[in-house]
């Protein structure tokens, strides 16, 4: 392989793959302005590229209303991908399944959710039996690899939102109404399968 071939192989592959992914999602990309792709683009245009920043206001957070299987959404102002920047799945007994770049898919204590400026608890309107299966599946993902812009299709890379989506999806519940290529925390808030049980925001 000569000098020229070596340098053009990946740029050509990028263009090809980009074209393939766009074509495969053409319907969703052209008809759905709520897609997280547009949210990212709008945020990028206004200079917001990260998960946001800010400081939390003190307040009583009713953690006691949480039941296993509930979804917690936390957010900072200026988040690039919607009102909420983070999602976690409540496992019960003060434990939440989450995903971070430095911890991978992990189980963390619940308390740190009081640090968010925006906070929302949502409950999937499904049977307790199904939620038990969701939690069992979710626990088995601990230790998996985090990747921030992980596609929903890939079973080896996860972020905080698509790990929750997958746990429910495996039980036949699709929490992503947009059928997007990525899933943002806010997608759960808009799902017809859930009810908001608590919301705090500035």
């Amino acid at each position: 392989m000569n000098d020229k071939s070596r340098i053009i192989i990946f740029p050509v592959l990028v263009l090809l793959l980009l074209l393939l992914v766009i074509l495969q999602n053409w319907q969703m990309l052209t008809n759905n302005k709520n897609s997280v792709v547009y949210t990212y683009l709008r945020s990028f245009a206004s200079g917001e590229i990260g998960s946001g920043y800010g400081s939390a206001t003190a307040g009583d957070i009713p953690f006691s209303i949480l039941e296993p299987g509930d979804i917690l959404l936390g957010g900072w102002p200026n988040c690039a991908y919607g009102k909420y920047s983070h999602a976690g799945l409540y496992l019960g007994e003060g434990e939440v399944l989450e995903a971070y770049v430095d911890y991978g898919v992990c189980i963390q204590p619940l308390g740190h959710y009081e640090n968010y400026t925006e906070l929302c608890f949502i409950r999937a309107n499904v049977s307790n039996e199904l939620k038990t299966k969701v939690i069992a599946a979710a626990r088995s993902y601990a230790g998996e690899t985090f990747y921030p812009v992980a596609f929903k299709q890939n079973d080896r890379f996860y972020n905080c939102s698509n790990i929750i989506w997958k746990a429910y999806q495996e039980q036949g519940i699709n929490l992503d109404i947009n059928n997007d290529i990525w899933i943002a925390p806010e997608s759960f808030r808009n799902s017809p399968y859930v009810s908001v049980i608590f919301e705090k925001g500035m």
Binding site: Y103, G143, A150
Partner: protein
């Protein structure tokens, strides 16, 4: 400069390859192969090859050392250091997922791999130089 073009486009290609599970692994292997070829077909001195390899992995080495030495904590963006390091190593991340999901000191195994990738890739870039030298020695060995 060539290595930067390969690196940046490989980040995008492997990320897009993740859309088709399995393709990302193939592209990660292709990336390693291209790096190997890139190093094999250059007639650089060992010093220059070392320097080019170092310059190529400098962003990752800077990020890794900042995290290990805690320098990132002095900024408001400490979380983004690991984040950027992982994005830089996107071309080899699919290979990291093939390793067992071990957790050590609260961190997954792939987290530690992020710090090893830069020196490892630098070494991969240097190896063809030794191979080339060995082949040349074989070719011109008067006793052979």
């Amino acid at each position: 400069m060539r290595l930067y073009v390969i690196q940046l486009t490989a980040i995008l290609a492997v990320w897009l390859g993740m859309y088709y599970p399995g393709l990302d692994i193939v592209l990660a292997l292709l990336y390693l192969l291209i790096i190997w070829w890139e190093a094999s077909y250059k007639n650089l001195s060992l010093f220059l090859q070392c320097l080019v390899g170092l310059a190529w992995q400098l962003p990752a080495l800077y990020l890794s050392l900042s995290i290990i030495m805690g320098l990132d904590q002095a900024t408001d963006f400490s979380y983004y250091f690991v984040f950027m390091l992982q994005l830089w190593h996107t071309p080899v991340m699919p290979l990291a997922t093939l390793m067992p999901n071990l957790i050590r000191l609260d961190k997954p195994f792939y987290y530690y791999e992020l710090f090893v990738f830069a020196p490892l890739l630098w070494t991969i870039y240097l190896l063809p130089w030794f191979r080339r030298k060995k082949l040349l020695q074989k070719k011109f060995n008067p006793l052979a």
